[in-house]
């Protein structure tokens, strides 16, 4: 339990990532159809994601997911827990 908590401290949501930053998906905090959609697009736990660009109005943000560029609204991206990768 202790270990898990300390691990979670490093975690952020996808919405909090800066443009150009890379991260690995930890878990999806959504259920039902939305979850299926995300999974179908290849956004599964363990997948590496890169933030590509943000709309001039702040939302949505586009991410590189397995080679394709997909845009998610901030509220949807904030339901995806990721671990930032630093290189």
């Amino acid at each position: 339990m202790e270990l898990r908590l300390s691990k979670n401290l490093e975690c952020k949501t996808l919405a909090e990532m800066k443009v150009g930053q890379r991260a690995r998906v930890v878990r999806l905090l959504v259920e039902g159809l939305t979850r299926r959609r995300l999974l179908d697009l290849g956004l599964l736990p363990g997948t590496e994601v890169r933030t590509v660009m943000r709309s001039p109005l702040g939302t949505p943000t586009a991410y590189d997911i397995r080679g394709s560029v997909l845009a998610l609204r901030t509220e949807d991206a904030s339901k995806i827990v990721v671990k930032p990768l630093y290189s």
Binding site: V30, L33, T34, R35, R36, R37, L38, L39, D40, L41, G42, L44, P45, T47, V52, M53, R54, S55, P56, L57, G58, T59, P60, A62, I65, R66, G67, S68, V69, L70, A71, L72, R73, D76
Partner: protein, 729 residues
Amino acid sequence: MMKDGINVDTKGEGHDYYQERHEDLEKGHDYLVALAGNPNTGKSTVFNAFTGLRQHVGNWPGKTVARAEGSFKYMGKRYKLIDLPGTYSLLATATDEEIARNFLLFSRPDVVVVVVDSATLERNLNLVLQVLEISNHVVVCLNLVDEAARKGMNVDAEQLSLDLGVPVVPTVANVGKGLNDLVKAIAGVASRTIPTSPRHFALKSDIRKAVDEVIPHVKKVVGDLPNIRWIAMRLLEGDARIRETLDKGELASLISSNQDVSAVATPTKAELKELFDRVQIAASSIRESLHDYVVSSIYADAETIWSKAVTKAEVPKSDLDAKIDRILTSRIIGFPIMIALMIAVFWITIEGANVPSQLLADGLFWLEDQFTSLFRWFGAPQWLEGLLVHGTYRGLAWVVSVMLPPMAIFFPLFTLLEDLGYLPRVAFNIDRFFKWAGTHGKQAITMCMGFGCNATGVISCRSINSPRERLIAILTNNFVPCNGRWPTLILVAAVFVATAFPPAISSMIASFTIVAVTFIGILTTFIVSALLSRTLLKGESSFFVLEMPSYRRPQFLRVLYTSFIDRTIKVLYRAIIWAAPAGALIWILGNVYVGGETLMIHAADVLSPIGLLIGLDGIILLAYIIAIPANEIIIPTIIMGYMGTSMMTELESTVELHALFVAQGFTVITAICLMLFSVLHYPCATTTHTIWKETRSAKWTLLSNLIPLAVAFLVCFVVAQSLRALGFS
């Protein structure tokens, strides 16, 4: 082909698909080929390349999802090609995915061609692996290999083929590269001379156990199908559609028509019950979500296959797409570029359409004179000549000469932007407004379509999955002005705005005015959408993913073809059908006298008080009622009403027109209100008909007319009264 004594539910969808296959084969197609693939993979390009003009576009039975089918011949065999809806998966519950899946399952095509995008191969393999579970006879079309190469990726087709167990053909479909090899592979798999042994993805032990437990019971019910493992997995996941199919015995009847009927017995109630019980027991033994697990198994496999087949350049090539995106979605110049492009498109359309419009008008009106002479030579009665030549024909001539040139310029320009991949960037830039309005981000794209034609825009709302958000997009599409309304906007802008400026910049000024009015329309879209989201169609915006495809060099021939055949000609055809009777009506109104005045003057007198209240006048309002079928004839009808002539006429110069309008009490307020009314008022008859076809609801079709009407009246009233109060006249 149907055997007696088999219980087939004729209302079941599965049965329709099944029936279709056999009818087609009886009609003389040797092989049935299905085309599957993710969106944006060039699937339609492959489809068009094979079928050319031998294609037919309709809807899937009972669904508002477009369905294209076509045929081609190769080595003496006839192939029927069905273009399945573009999907990322066959697992989720969206309508298009269900259609694709049902077709593969029930129509049992001889070959399934999966078109994949080489540049995003890993994600595309998700669909390929799912198709391999359902169908044995698959060919993978590895499309857009040039784009992958541009991004520094090389895909080893042979390695891929080895891993998938089916032929893999690299292609660049938009230039026709590799299509010969593709058709050879299709023919080989169809005739079964090229053997296939499709890969089935690996399952984790506890799930494999559950699946293995269920399989023998499925076999008892449906016989030994190639996709038995897939059916077992679907049952374990609780797929209601598959269960229903088994309940009705449809799956069994499929096999029995292909094989010896005695080999498969129709399942008994007891057998079915046992199967479903077994499924329930087995499903309860799986702890984690089966769907999550299946998808992660597929992607794990996809990752392995992908990493074996794809080699990436050591130094990644400079990413041109990313550079363009940074400019087009830039915080500072993203919006200015968008607006500049819009002005440019309008400006090119207005400038370019002038001369051809005039030529067409001259030609068509010359033809009218010939018709007149012909009628007189025959000694036809005056009223007949008037009704047919000066009414119906002239109405048609107007619509063609006013509409055809701008459409023939606008649609190719628009298709060009679409093909380049710009529209998703527009949606990306302005999505926040839709989020605020509580609607779907793809509404931006349907709105762009509406600029061409609102009926087309309404149809494009199909891409929105949530029924609530789709309905809002349909109801508000009309607030973006379509091609039919531009003549009005262009003329009023040219006569009352541009004439105040030097000729060198006048068409630029007119473009600015039109863009300004368009922005009012877009603003109204957001406001009405937001109001609907908070009242009649309450709800939050649903989850939405927008794919930003790579920029692609457009194929000019295809652009011309799509915009001419699919858009220009179709829209024009509809307009003509509606404009002809309207032309006849206008002639009758202008030529039937009651108490010394024409019907038109009487009607205008009645409408005049309401018209004046909202800054218009009786004639303009009457023109809008007559022009419900086709907005293009607004201006000619107004001119005719003002001049008191008995037929629609066109005046030579804007100066003359200006003088005529002013003499009738037309002011700056009238001009402003006319433009606003044109953008905001109810949709044309074609669009209303389309809304009815798309919604099948009298209530929403009625509201789609009443809401814009109320908005138009309100806005024009407020604007007219405020301007008058401020001392304008």
